[in-house]
């Protein structure tokens, strides 16, 4: 059960640490991270494994959205299947 966390916005110090902290506290394993600048925005994409996650998905989503608000960035979590369906034939 894999998902993609995206963080988009103005770059600040400690983004990876804070998102990683939320993941760690919910037992979400981070498998891969990429960062890039697109259209002058900082974009971080994390591939995570939710199979041993200790919280329901609504709670994970709420925790990440809350973190996004605190950092002034947009944080989303979307299941990997969605991207595979939309971008792979």
């Amino acid at each position: 059960m894999k998902a993609v966390i995206t963080v988009v916005g103005k770059d600040t110090v400690g983004v990876v640490a804070r998102v990683g902290g939320v993941c760690g506290s919910l037992n979400i394993n981070i498998e891969d991270i990429t960062q890039s600048i697109m259209q002058e925005m900082f974009c971080m994409i994390m591939l995570v494994d939710l199979s041993r996650c200790t919280a329901p998905h609504e709670q994970v989503r709420a925790a990440l959205e809350q973190l996004g608000k605190e950092m002034g960035m947009q944080v989303t979590i979307t299941r990997l299947e969605v991207f595979e369906a939309m971008h792979h034939i």
């Binding site: 998902a3 974009c43 994409i45 591939l47 989503r61 989303t76 969605v82 595979e84 369906a85």
Partner: protein
């Protein structure tokens, strides 16, 4: 991550967060043929029990899929067997009781609309049909979430002009009975030609007699995502490139709908029906089909060139969507409801979009004269004439057409009606005052066209 491209991931996230990409509806179709009973009370009990049993988990399951996968799913709805089919066996029944049973069941399971308080009368009336049609105004005034549709014509059978004459009156009466509530009743009533049996969109959803006992359909959306994709294309890019880009975007949008449909069907334990490839707009800024046409280069929707741009859009959406889904059905095309589309509302307000142009547009896209607010003094015969025109376009072109107009009782052209929510608001559009009364009053049937003789 190597299997996925950063750009693809961010494109999807942007489509969802900024461009209003969503699954517009997951609609469960439920057959009520096994609820037929000569005792109306017993029939209503059976209807309530069947709907609340079959759809008990619909809303929680779909909400869970939305939360788990990060896909917004806006509406959960139900379509049922046209109720006139149940009325034939109960000659003493008041059809409004059946509408109330549907309303109660829909509210119990938490869906926001239930469609199917309707009749299929394209060739004539059978037992129950006329009683149902006469009861529509009261049924829509006395319920909240029930939607009604009547099929008055088809390419195979021609147009039932007796039904068309009747429906002009019914549309007016429905608006009159809800005049204190922005005439909302008429916004829940659709008159169809070539109505599909598996349409998941309201107000025209019904569960046709050829459908399985219970099935799940999905209606996708995403005009905002198509417009945003086109905005990145240079203004001098040829229309082949425009069509190609729309196709690609429609493919992605539809794949998301197919994913949701498969998940919902699997988790609810019912067969998956179809994905309806419609671009369904909302009153939200940017989520507009009119804006897509304007992005292609029209100054304002409704100007000359609009029909051609819409034909391109409609065709490209289908071509992209059809490969993304294993079963395509429903209405499948771009919707052009006026009050539900921010760009259409503005075009109508600034006078670039008129009723006659909308009629021409319906020859090349999905559905028809949809969510158009008419002056309050529009006679029933004029509404019937409009229905006949629209149905003729559908009949001759072997496509679905429909009329959902709202006579704004007590108001004149230039004023507005505000329905709120997804139904939006609309300026009252002028309509020709010349009378088709004698033509409409002739009744009878307009014979099926040569296009019907395909065998």
């Amino acid at each position: 991550m190597s299997i996925l491209n950063t750009r693809d991931i961010l494109e999807t996230i942007q489509m969802i967060t900024d461009e209003n990409l969503d699954v517009r509806t997951v609609t469960m179709g439920i057959s009520l043929l096994d609820c037929i009973d000569p005792d109306p009370k017993r029939a209503c009990e059976k209807i309530y029990n069947k709907i609340t049993t079959k759809a008990a988990r619909l809303v929680p399951v779909v909400e869970q899929i939305s939360a788990d996968y990060g896909i917004p799913i806006v509406n959960k709805r139900i379509s049922v067997t046209p109720i006139a089919m149940l009325l034939g066996a109960a000659p003493e029944a008041d059809p409004v009781d059946y509408a109330k049973a549907l309303d109660k069941a829909a509210k119990a399971v938490g869906v926001n609309f239930i469609g199917g308080f309707g009749a299929l009368v394209h060739k004539g009336f059978s037992a129950g049909d006329e009683r149902l049609i006469d009861a529509i105004p009261r049924a829509l005034a006395e319920t909240d979430v029930v939607c009604s549709s009547v099929n008055i014509g088809s390419t195979k059978s021609g147009l039932n002009m007796d039904a068309i004459a009747r429906m002009g009156q019914v549309v007016r009466q429905t608006a009159e009975l809800t005049a204190d509530r922005q005439c909302i009743g008429a916004a829940k009533l659709v008159v169809f030609c070539n109505a599909p049996e598996d349409n998941p969109f309201m107000a025209g959803a019904l569960h046709g007699p050829g459908e399985p006992d219970c099935v799940v359909h999905v209606g996708v959306s995403g005009p905002g995502a198509v417009r945003a994709a086109l905005a990145k294309l240079p203004k001098d890019a040829p229309l082949d490139q425009v069509a190609e880009l729309i196709k690609r975007t429609a493919f992605k949008i539809t794949r998301m709908g197919q994913l949701v449909g498969n998940l919902a069907a699997q988790q609810l334990g019912v067969p998956f029906g179809i994905v309806d490839l419609s671009l369904a707009p909302t009153p939200a800024v940017g989520d507009s089909v009119a804006n897509i046409l304007e992005e292609m280069g029209l100054e304002s929707c409704g100007c000359c060139g609009t029909t051609a741009a819409l034909a391109l859009l409609n065709d490209a959406v289908k071509k992209g969507g059809v490969m993304a889904s294993n079963h395509v059905g429903g209405l499948s095309g771009a919707f052009i409801p006026v009050s539900e589309d921010d760009g259409m509302i503005k075009a109508a307000e600034r006078g670039s979009l008129c009723l006659e142009k909308l009629e021409a547009m319906t020859a090349v896209c999905s559905v028809g004269i949809d969510m158009v607010v008419l002056p309050g003094d529009t006679p029933a015969a004029v509404i019937s004439g409009l229905i006949a025109d629209e149905a003729a376009i559908g009949m001759v072109n072997s496509k679905t057409t429909a009329v959902r107009v709202i006579p704004a009782i007590g108001r004149k052209a230039g004023e507005i009606l505000d329905f709120g929510g997804l139904l939006g608001y609309g300026p009252i559009m002028p309509i020709s005052g010349w009378s088709p009364e004698v033509f409409v009053a002739r009744g009878g049937r307009i014979p099926a066209p040569m296009q019907a003789l395909k065998n």
